[in-house]
Assembly symmetry: C2
Homo-oligomer: 125 residues x 2
DNA sequence: TTAAGTGCAAAATCTTTGCAAATGT
DNA sequence: ACATTTGCAAAGATTTTGCACTTAA
């Protein structure tokens, strides 16, 4: 296992994610950061966060990756086991409290999920 | 509303989708087709199918678009209201019979969904 | 000191688009 | 006839990678 270092960029990425409380794209994160950083670096930081399981990644129906810190990241049996919601008006993506309840046919094993509901959020309705 | 025409390419795309019974990427569809066609054309055909609601599109966690004809396409209240399953071994994506049961907080409206379970399918387990 | 992190530029993917030519009805 | 469909090539967008340089510990 790799020994992580603390860097300003890493802190900045985490700060942005933490206080947005939402799932954000690399692009959106970069725009909000108070320190300059390279795109590739941000992706690398985000991917390291995912490896370390302090952030989870979801892929939205636009094909883009979004990253979120989530209290629910701890203590789950299946990664990303909750619904995400993308609002088509404000274009924000957030983690919903509800866990995904699923049932699969015989002999299927679920290891992961990526579930997004799309519509209008409370702030836009 | 646009008047659709029948073309060999369109038929070929539909034939491939129908008898695969799975969700396929443009790439995979093209490889299976018995007539030559341009990539862009295939995308355009697929998007027309989606408009006409004879095919539905899902975006998998690899960020790619997959297209499927599905009996469940008829008569649904919310588009793509069933789970999809991606097998990490055989890399196929299929529609599962189970509908997605969800609950959202107050004032949220769901118009669409994109839900994928990832794991090992019956054929690979 | 030295492994981990970064910047830059380039590559790799996937998807869409503009336009002129071809074709179904 | 003429609106729809197609091919081609180019553009767009997002994400990853190789490599040399920098930096945290």
């Amino acid at each position: 296992m790799m020994r992580r270092r603390n860097t300003a960029t890493k802190e900045a990425v985490m700060a942005v994610l933490t206080n947005s409380g939402r799932a954000m794209s690399q692009d959106a994160i970069m725009k909000q950061m108070d320190v300059d950083a390279n795109r590739a670096t941000i992706y690398r930081i985000l991917n390291r966060f995912c490896e370390d399981e302090v952030v989870h990644k979801i892929v939205a129906d636009d094909g883009k990756q979004y990253f979120a810190v989530c209290v629910k990241c701890d203590d789950v049996t299946v990664p990303r086991d909750h619904f995400h919601f993308r609002c088509t008006k404000c274009e924000t993506i957030e983690c919903l409290p509800a866990n995904v309840e699923y049932s699969v046919p015989e002999k299927y094993t679920v290891q992961q999920m990526n579930c997004i509901l799309i519509g209008i959020c409370k702030d836009c309705s």
